[in-house]
Amino acid sequence: MEIWRLPISASQRGKLISSGYTSLSSLSSISSSDLARELKVSESEAMNILKVASHSRGSETSNASCSIVEGAQSAWDMLHDEESLMHITTSSADLDNILGGGIHCKEVTEIGGVPGIGKTQLGIQIAVNVQIPNDFGGLGGKAIYIDTEGSFMVERAFQIAEACIEDMSEYNRFLRKDFQECKIKMLPQDILENIFYFRICSYTEQIALINYLDKFLSEHKDVKVIVVDSVTFHFRQDFDDMALRTRVLSGMALKLMNLAKRFSLAVVLLNQVTTKHTEASFQLALALGDSWSHTCTNRIVLYWNGNERYAYIDKSPSLRSASAAYSVTARGIRNSSSSCKRIKMM
């Protein structure tokens, strides 16, 4: 029954099947007014159904010899594309090292940790660092910050932006001391202007926003990172129907993956932790359970080790498991200042 494959509503599907239209070929020779009459639906609905069916069928006949499937890319082309993709630095050289240069574009990265470890700080730092101009090795793009907990502080963002600009002019002075000094024309206000901030207060708003982002990103093509802080907050309490929660979360994850791939941007999801009771011991695990843990491309876990903050790569398709120390300073995220600063490879 090929009608199963069409993305149409359940009632339309039921009407099609009960009238005997079970295969795509049966829909090929009928006009929309006849279909509307038979199914007792409006003409626009019938036209919609026929359009979806012919699109499905049309993909069968267009058999380009160069690619097996429309939209597929060969691994060789992707390798070259990947080499030209930039990363978003986190301002901590150790952290960038274990991340292979920084946060990757076209991937969904989940960052989780206990409260107070610096997740929001890292989120704000990334939203500022994505705007570093191309001349200084950055992406020169804008950022979307989706705040679910209300933990975004504008004054802190201003502080981090100021520090970032100071670092850039320092770098500029250091590197270009032979040539004439080109002054950095960026001001902290400009950086703040390029962060699009959304505050959401319930899970329906969150889903609605993710759906809306498609249109928003087609209008603002220079957005290069989406930071969601935190993605789990509205799903943890008051959700009676767990099956619904899993469906909604996996649908949301797929949409974010789609956005990351289509618009070539990085998606950073900040997550909270919860205690998991396994085999009579308590363990910290990221919130939202195992089904959510499969939905990201990379996962970084932030934890305390003594008095130091550490970041550990938990899941990645191409990076080794490693951990590195970092610290949260007045200027933002920076390298840890401890003396025994070594990256531990697992």
Partner: protein, 327 residues
Amino acid sequence: MARLANLETEYPVLDSTVRNFCASHGIFSVEDFLIHDLYMLAAFAEQNDSSERLKEGIAQVLSIIDDMHQPWLNGMELLEDAKRNKHVFPTGIQGIDLLLGDGIHVGQLTELVGPSSSGKTQVCLRTASNVARNHMVLYLDTGNSFSPQRIAYFLGKTISPSSAQAKNQFLQKVMSNISCHSVFDIFAMFDVLHQLESYLRCQDGRGGCQMRLLIVDSISSLISPVLGSSSTLGRALMTSAGYLLKKLAHQHNLAVLVSFARVSSVLIINHTVGGEGGSSKPALGDSWKCIPHSRLFLSCDRGSNTYNVSILRHPSMASGKAARFVI
């Protein structure tokens, strides 16, 4: 399976009297015909006025159905087909190849099941890089985890050190055999599989480098948004996806490898499972478990960075056997 109305042009026997009779019993297409009790239908046709026409019509539909089934094969033909077409592809990972007795089979759907970051994507990438040396590979990626860097790394490890240019050429040749496509919902996957089917039908006639491996990483993330609601659509989509993959594997001599997320929780999406407290179960419950031909369970030993694989189900190897491997 066409509507009876559409068949009238080809088979004039199925005229309006026959169709009206069928419609009075709720039969509008050839498919509906199959679901009905044919003896009852013939009995009703007897009682009707134009019983001859109706019986002719019924006989015609039955002959149409007869033309539609797959040809019969006897044991010798199956053995011939198995020897000629159904090869075994080594995955390139020693532990797995030893466990499976040479590798994954063409014509079968092999599933990799495991908790998060247990090495499923790495095994898929490794297998893709190994098979791509001689055949074409299609990689369907649902989580943007296809990493060309990793494939280049695996290939680089296997060739002997030679000039950079020769290495580059080798990489280009092999990596051009791998096509990667991102799918983010199940309907898109059905579209892609449909296009693949028409491509494979053309390919069967030609020679040259043929597609022999299809990887879907991971299929569970496509199915979980639709499964579990009050309608049965999710389950139907899941089983038809499984059957379509198996059909592609058998008819067009592909090896199909899918990766699957495992959820350890009592709160499982599928409402028929009432599992014991805290036991690990693969996501999507029992309906999916019988679909793949062979199922491998992967887990990662964090301390020593080795992976464990054990057989949950296999047509020719004993289940419960386990092995370790490193990537």
